[in-house]
């Protein structure tokens, strides 16, 4: 009986399998993954758009890419704990830029997949009901944005990813052909941005999403950059080789004029955007995502998951925003004593999740020229105070040490919260008494008679001790009474584009010959920025209110004739340490002129003698090498591979 049943069941199962489910067993239905066809749904398009914003985090705030935008320029050199990532980019004989060492690979690795996703959305959205042109315009903006970043960094790059020019690629090809610089501009960047300006809203769909003003800024900047490329004043080579002739038959002047016109249109039609009252407010952590900011790679401390990075400990990799660690030196080595005989030494400035402190990596340092030249005016111009940390204040109580005061320089007492170390604005008239080596402060800082804080003067800064970068500093609201989570990556957005840059773009175009509108000459435009820079409401390093308006003095100090050098210097004052510098110097072909030498002290505590360092900046350095990872993945002949690489790096 039993056996009959079993036979019956087995037979039934067998029949069922043979007849019913043959094909089912071999069919696939994913239930936890999306396949590319999802882009053909409305929600898929939305998700694709979100990933465009998220992709910014893989480039901006990524410290190694950040390093490529600054190290080697007049804004930054390598610091004491720098590894080859930083030394190589400095071009000062401590390393070299190669296809494996260049960290511009970060951009290359993140941009193309985003371009492809953008193309997928642009193609598919046409078939999906309910997708507005405004939404598609966001994809167009990002496709143009990535191509613009790529073309500035690497020269011409491929428009065909495998399925045709600017087409969504689902063809796994391992070949690639680079287009020329004018093709990338005229086929991809300009048309996408022009459409984006037409279709994007004046007010963003969500906090921080693309707007008409943002698209205008990038179109103006792209016109300006392309105009420089056509003009080529210093005969810098381009690659792939092509003549400096515009396919649309326009000349550099035409594009300078376009840059000016578009930028001025944006200034005249600001939508919800505009300048902050003070430079300090622009970068104040509690004032993030303010109206001056057009684009940023956002982060948050309200959600670890959507922040994309740990809120307690980060390792230093995308999508974390960890750029500011690089120019943060190890202030935690500063020592004070709780006893007058220095028998109980403590770390008086402890690692804290605050905008002036944060996590130190000591990888990049500002050379002395930044303090002596770029920020020569530290009293009228609020930008020095709003850029750097020059005063390090005692915070030992937050670290669990209960003493009310410590003994510090000259064995004088310093209360909790008062200055332990100050980077002086100027060389003092009385010479600083610096120790040999690390000294009492343990970081080689000196003493001045009557001062309870240790001091280092501008000419005394070194690769191991220099002012920190306040503007990008950590800002958290969950520290309570303690030090917070200084080892987490920054939860602040990393700013990418600002309204203020429209003034610089228009001014630069005017300097290069664009016809200016009345009241919007290069000098007028620059003075808008300088007037704002003269406004104070808070003395950041002095930690006190300071209601001062030095606008008049600032404007008065502006030269009568603005030239490109002045614009570059002003840009550095405005955007110091934010990742603009290499692109500015490359666009204007001024890199070698501006950055070929610098001065800074050595790598040991107590090194206060400036060392002059020379850089070797060759014309081929104006393009970064194609990353080795790309070369290795291509299936091309050795000759083709060699031709794919930029000259000088083969």
């Amino acid at each position: 009986m039993k056996s009959k049943h079993i036979k019956k069941y087995t037979a039934a199962a067998l029949v069922a399998l043979l007849l019913g489910s043959c094909s089912e067993i071999l069919e696939e239905q994913p239930r936890s993954l999306y396949e590319p066809g999802f882009f053909r749904t409305e929600r898929g398009v939305n998700g694709g758009i979100t990933s465009m914003y998220a992709h910014l985090r893989y480039i901006f705030g990524q410290a190694y890419f950040y390093n490529t935008t600054l190290t080697g320029t007049d804004e930054a050199t390598w610091a004491q704990s720098a590894d080859a990532n930083f030394k190589d980019m400095d071009l000062s004989g401590v390393g070299s830029i190669t296809s494996t060492s260049s960290r511009a690979d970060v951009l290359w690795g993140a941009a193309f997949s985003n371009i492809n996703t953008a193309s997928g959305i642009i193609e598919n959205a046409a078939e999906v009901e309910g997708i507005s042109d405004a939404l598609i315009a966001e994809a167009r903006f990002f496709r143009a944005f990535d191509y613009f970043m790529l073309v500035q960094t690497f020269g011409g790059v491929p428009l065909d990813l495998g399925s045709g020019e600017l087409k969504f690629n689902n063809n796994p090809v391992r070949t690639s052909v680079r287009n020329t610089v004018p093709e990338v501009y005229t086929k991809a960047i300009f048309p996408d941005l022009l459409t984006a300006i037409d279709d994007l809203p004046a007010v963003g769909r969500l906090t921080g999403t693309a707007t008409q003003t943002l698209a205008r800024l990038y179109l103006a900047k792209a016109y300006l950059t392309y105009a420089w490329w056509l003009e080529n004043p210093n005969n810098i080579p381009t690659y792939p080789e092509t003549s400096r002739v515009d396919p649309d038959g326009k000349d550099a002047q035409w594009y300078f004029q376009q840059a000016y016109d578009v930028a001025v249109t944006a200034i005249d039609n600001p939508g919800p955007f505009g300048l902050q009252e003070t430079f300090y407010d622009l970068h104040l952590g509690s004032n993030d995502r303010n109206k001056e900011l057009l684009l940023y790679a956002d982060h948050t401390e309200t959600s670890e998951f959507y922040n994309g990075a740990s809120l307690t400990f980060s390792n230093g990799g995308a999508p974390e925003n960890f750029a500011v660690w690089m120019m943060t030196w190890n202030y935690t080595n500063i020592r004070s004593s709780t006893t007058s005989d220095w028998s109980n030494v403590i770390s008086s400035v402890q690692r804290e999740a605050s905008q002036d402190l944060g996590r130190p990596w000591t990888r990049m340092a500002p050379p002395i020229g930044v303090f002596e030249n770029t920020f020569a005016d530290k009293t009228n111009d609020a930008r020095y105070d709003g850029t750097f940390v020059t005063v390090y204040r005692g915070n030992w109580k937050k670290g669990g040490i209960n003493d009310d005061f410590v003994y510090n320089a000259n064995d004088m007492r310093v209360e909790h919260g008062e200055p332990i170390l100050t980077f002086l604005d100027e060389e003092p008239s009385t010479p600083i008494n610096y120790p040999n080596g690390a000294g009492k402060s343990n970081i080689g800082a000196g003493e001045l008679p009557g001062r309870s804080d240790f001091v280092i003067s501008p000419r005394g800064i070194s690769r191991i001790a220099h002012p920190g970068l306040w503007k990008l500093g950590t800002y958290r609201t969950d520290n309570g009474d303690g030090l917070g989570q200084p080892n987490a990556a920054s939860t602040r957005p990393f700013n990418i584009a600002k309204f203020s840059e429209l003034y610089f773009i228009a001014a630069e175009a005017a300097v290069m010959g664009a016809a200016a509108q009345g009241g919007k000459s290069a000098r007028d435009l620059i003075n808008v920025i300088r007037a704002r820079a003269g406004k104070w409401r808070w003395d950041n390093n002095g930690n006190r209110a300071k209601a001062e308006d030095n606008s008049a003095a600032m404007v008065a100090a502006t030269p009568a004739t603005i030239d490109i050098d002045y614009i570059l210097a002003e840009r550095s004052r405005e955007y110091f340490g934010e990742g603009y510098r290499w692109y500015d110097l490359v666009r204007t072909q001024k890199w070698a002129e501006v950055a070929s030498t610098y001065e800074i002290g050595g790598i040991n505590y107590g090194d206060h003698a400036p060392v002059k360092v020379n850089r070797t900046i060759e014309p081929y350095h104006y393009l970064r090498p194609i990353p080795q990872g790309q070369i290795e993945r291509l299936e091309l002949s050795p000759e083709e591979l060699s031709a794919y690489q930029n000259p000088g790096y083969q």
Binding site: S21, N442, Q485, R633
Partner: protein
């Protein structure tokens, strides 16, 4: 015949004729093919199909010897009888001579494929909780590599090398006839009767695509028919001690390094006069315990067995442990004459704990730091020059066991049922249905209390829960036909139709800030902080396979054997139109030893030549690879608008098809000198085509990779195993020894693109798959070495010198700096490897030694390479003991501290992690005593009693790595684990990293049956 008969009659005056039937004592069925020999003569007979025999014997004192494979030989005095009916007892001890070949068994002589068998008893020579540990070094061509040194870890199994680049290379495990969907650690080694490993394609072909990487057939113990109930107990207890500490610097050594590097000075918690051994503060003694109790027996028509086991392995790192409860039952029952039914169930519940405790934090801790405050209390954190790590020790971890934990509880049940019907009217024809039903679920939970494992004491607590379920079913319909014609023609034919399906789903959620630490991970809903359900950690897949198979095995007179198989597989994971593949296999054997010219040889007892050819295939890619894939990127728009983005990460491949291999196998089995020396020699070539590959795409294609059929690989190898009975009860002494040596040469033959190299994936035509593509270290730059400035811009004397392969100009000056083109392809695979075992017995005592060895190849130690961050040579964190360059010590191996760096490590620091992988290890030494022959034991009803003591991992020889580091040279991690940077090596390259330290174990055990 009749003429001879007539002629013989006159001479055989004293002869008498005897006839009878030989049957199986257990079920009374007639036994065909039994040898009936008149003792002391060469005359005899073989029983026919009905078990009948006729034989002439010289007289009444004649003795008949009945022998048959798998049964105990019986001798019977004929006396005056003319009819002698005999029941032969199945011989348990010779069961190893029957080889399980998949969908049937074969006598060892008849096997034509490459099959290695090992009995459960031999496996238990190495007392362990995991069969993979017991198998290491035991079988030629079967490489077992340690992938983790944590309690409960399984080893990686590779049968005859690596074929596939991206698809799995794990062999198929078949448990009691049903493909096993669980973890091999779920199988209790005590339950195993035998392991049969199918190595070549002619043997594995019946398993089709599932068998591409070899098949391990696990047969578990069953009761015997008619056997009286027997109770058995096996148990052992052992202590685990550290084999060696990780070779970190002590205080003075580290102080000297920090000074030589000149980059860091002592931080607040450090002092030159302190020398703390952080490892001593962490490690404890571990223990291993195993108990297994079983009962088995049989009736006239059936048998049963039941086992329960408990295994507990506590590691040397506090809270790390693995615990397993297992239960197994098997029943076979005959119903009437034609029907047989059976059921096997294997169940286990296991708990793995302690993965929250890593050891990098301990190894990198400054030995100059005193862990105690002046008042004797433990410091929460240690201030080092750039780091302020949370500080922990054995006591800290154990005191926090409810505040800081990680555990996984898994339950698996693997069940097979069968029904067998002898088709009446057709002799030898049987229908059998196998049904396999498996289920495995695993539940993981982690909890880290507030401030635990973090420098900030107010860091919110965090918790996570994860679950995974695997469902697997298989139905097999088999028709078998098994008959002997004319006494000499044996035919076995099998036809199969099978279907199987596996479904997997897993989920994970995490939360921050659990208000009460008593909740641990048991109620995430109360979290005050964020609750995260990360879409990339939720998983579902289902895959199915349908197969048709037919196999015929034919043997003539046990002399000539032939086996032919045809199988067709359809798989769900491949692209439409590419789902099916059909492949043949054929093999032949020639038992030269049974030929007349060798039959009476005193030297050669058995000599068999085997040749096989077969195709197998591999479809073991993850499901949904043909469709392409979007990856997710979460993002926030401001502080309160959250959204998840998608982007294309993997491109679809509508052409994805089967990867298949063709194998030629040549084997020679021999047994010499009265079977005192036996062995096997084999040679094989496997060519694998259309290799399935995750191909990394250039960034300009817009996606990261595509799964594709690309390339051809080849494995060639030779295997030798020898077993000798050196002393056979000479004055009570018996000495046996076995050795196996094998080598596998693997290479990539072609890439489908026609390219000869794929640098991004480290694939090079003509080179092994397991290759490293890196610079070759040739020493250190010394003072005065020419061209340092050209070859290494920014370099320094004392830095690592690597090979330059570029050109020189006419003055002999290098034309460029050293760069990526100078990298070399280095082979990781060993030249040869194997194992050995020996057993000496005297009276009741026996001593056995089992070992393994390996020669050549590269051992990757991430402790010494850049990816481990333990050899930074900067003095920032503690460093492995390294003989580094200083102006006074220029003849060093390691570079100048504080010299040119790449990242945080010395430039080319990756090259410091490559070592010669050679070693010889004694794995286990066991001394036992058997009490069987002790009258007292017999009298109280004990059938078997054995006590033993064993030491595992006692010593290592011939290992350059061991010489330098003092460590066990076996790998303990996958390439992407247990290092500070886990992206340096492909996962398939096993490494030695910061996992739980290797141990040396001391065990005592008992085996008891009554």
């Amino acid at each position: 015949m009749s003429i001879m008969w007539v002629w013989l009659v006159p001479l055989a005056i004293a002869q008498q004729q005897v006839s009878g039937i030989v049957s199986d004592s257990s079920d009374g069925s007639p036994l065909p093919g039994v040898n009936v020999l008149v003792k002391g003569t060469t005359s005899g007979a073989v029983t026919g199909l009905d078990g009948n025999y006729h034989v002439n014997v010289p007289g009444t004192d004649a003795v008949l010897v009945f022998s048959f494979i798998g049964y105990q030989t019986q001798e019977v005095v004929v006396g005056t009888r003319s009819a002698v009916n005999i029941n032969l007892e199945p011989d348990l001890s010779t069961l190893s001579e029957v080889v399980v070949v998949g969908y049937g068994t074969q006598r060892e002589e008849a096997v034509t494929g490459s099959v290695a068998s090992i009995s459960g008893e031999l496996l238990r020579d190495i007392p362990s909780g995991n069969v993979t540990q017991a198998l290491q070094g035991r079988v030629a061509g079967v490489e077992l590599s340690q992938t983790s040194s944590r309690p409960g870890a399984s080893m990686q199994i590779r049968i005859r090398g690596t074929r596939s680049l991206t698809a799995t290379n794990d062999p198929l495990v078949v448990l009691d006839g049903i493909p096993f969907a669980g973890s091999i650690g779920d199988i209790n080694p005590n339950d195993i009767k035998s392991l049969d490993i199918l190595k070549d394609a002619s043997a594995t072909a019946i398993y089709g695509s599932r068998g591409a990487n070899g098949v391990i057939l696990v047969t578990t113990n069953r009761g015997q028919k008619g056997q009286q109930a027997r109770i058995s107990y096996n148990g052992f207890y052992g202590v685990r001690e550290i084999f060696s500490k990780y070779p970190m610097m002590n205080g003075p050594e580290f102080m000297a390094l920090r000074q030589a590097a000149g980059q860091y000075t002592n931080a607040l918690d450090e002092s030159d006069d302190v020398d703390t051994d952080w490892q001593d503060l962490l490690y404890k003694s571990g223990t291993i315990t195993s108990h297994e109790l079983g009962v088995s027996g049989g009736t006239e028509k059936g048998n049963y067995t039941f086992n329960a086991g408990y295994f507990n392995d506590q590691g040397v790192i506090p809270t790390q442990q693995y615990e397993r409860f297992s239960m197994r039952a098997a029943i076979d029952q005959e119903v009437g004459k034609h029907i047989r039914l059976g059921f096997t169930t294997n169940n286990n519940y296991n708990i793995t704990k302690g993965s929250q405790v890593g050891i990098y934090g301990i190894l990198s801790m400054s030995p100059l730091a005193n862990p105690y405050n002046a008042d004797g209390t433990w410091k929460r954190t240690i201030k080092m020059p750039l780091d302020e790590p949370w500080s922990y020790s054995r006591e800290v971890v154990e005191n926090l066991k409810d505040e800081w934990l990680s555990e996984t509880r898994a339950y698996g049940t693997y069940n097979s049922l069968y029904g067998e019907l002898k088709i009446p009217g057709v002799e030898g024809l049987k229908y059998r249905a196998n049904v396999g039903l498996d289920f495995r679920q695993s539940h993981g939970g982690d909890f880290t209390g507030e401030g635990v494992n973090n420098a900030n004491p107010t860091t919110p607590s965090s918790a996570s829960v994860s679950n995974s379920h695997t469902y697997h079913w298989a139905i097999e319909n088999l028709l078998t036909y098994d008959r002997i014609f004319a006494q000499k023609h044996m035919i076995n034919a099998v036809a199969l139709f099978s279907t199987e399906q596996t479904r997997f789903n897993s989920s994970r959620m995490a939360a921050r800030d659990i208000p009460s630490s008593a909740f641990q991970f048991y109620n995430l809903g109360y979290a005050a902080g964020e609750i995260t359900v990360d879409p990339s950690q939720q998983n579902y897949w289902q895959s199915g396979l349908m197969s048709y198979m037919a196999r015929v095995m034919y043997s003539f007179d046990d002399r000539y054997m032939l086996s032919a198989t045809l199988r067709s597989d359809g798989s769900s994971v491949l692209a439409e139109g590419h789902k099916w593949h059909t492949y043949p296999a054929v093999s032949a054997g020639w038992n030269i030893g049974t030929e007349p010219f060798l039959q009476n040889s005193n030297v050669i007892n058995m000599l068999k030549l085997r040749v096989g050819y077969g195709q197998t295939s591999n479809q073991a890619v993850n499901p949904y690879q043909t469709l392409g894939l979007l990856s997710t990127r979460p993002y926030n728009f401001g502080n309160d608008t959250y959204s998840t983005g998608y982007y294309v990460n993997q491109l679809p491949n509508p052409q994805l098809g089967w990867e298949f291999s063709e194998t030629m196998n040549f084997g020679l089995d021999f047994s010499l000198l009265q079977d005192r020396l036996s062995g096997t020699v084999e040679y094989y070539i496997t060519n694998t085509n259309d290799v399935l590959l995750n191909v990394g795409l250039p960034a300009t294609s817009g996606a990261s990779f595509v799964t594709s059929n690309i390339g051809e690989t080849q494995n060639k190898g030779a295997e030798l195993s020898i077993n000798g009975l050196i002393l056979d009860n000479v004055g009570g002494w018996t000495w046996e020894a076995g050795l196996n040596v094998y080598t596998n040469r693997n290479k990539l033959v072609a890439l489908a693109s026609g390219a000869s190299r794929d640098e991004s994936n480290w694939w090079f035509v003509g080179h092994p798959i397991n290759a490293i593509y890196d610079h070759e270290r040739i020493g250190l730059w010394q003072e005065g070495d020419p061209h340092l400035d050209i070859l290494e811009p920014g370099g320094n004397v004392g830095m690592i010198k690597v090979k330059y392969t570029g050109e020189y100009n006419s003055d002999g000056v290098p034309v460029r700096q050293i760069g990526p083109d100078d990298r070399q392809i280095m082979n990781v695979d060993p030249d040869f490897q194997g194992g050995f075992n020996t057993r000496v017995a005297y009276k009741g005592f026996d001593l056995s030694i089992v070992g393994a060895f390996k020669s050549g190849g590269i051992l990757i130690s991430t402790l010494y390479s850049s990816s481990g961050y333990l050899n930074m040579l900067s003095g920032r964190r503690n460093n492995v003991k390294a003989d580094y360059w200083t102006p006074e010590n220029t003849d060093a191996k390691y570079p100048k501290p504080g010299g040119i760096a790449s990242g945080d490590n010395p430039k080319y620091g990756g090259t410091l992690g490559y070592f010669d992988a050679t070693y010889l290890k004694v794995r286990t030494m066991t001394l036992g005593y058997n009490f069987e022959n002790t009258p007292f034991i017999k009298n109280i009803g004990i059938q078997q009693l054995r006590l033993y003591a064993a030491v595992q991992n006692p010593f290592v020889m011939f290992s350059p790595y061991h010489r330098e580091s003092g460590m066990d040279p076996e790998t303990n991690s996958y390439g992407d684990e247990n290092a500070a940077v886990t992206s340096a090596y492909q996962r398939r390259l096993l490494t030695l990293g910061t996992n739980a330290p290797a141990t040396r174990n001391y065990l005592i055990g008992v085996n008891l049956t009554f």
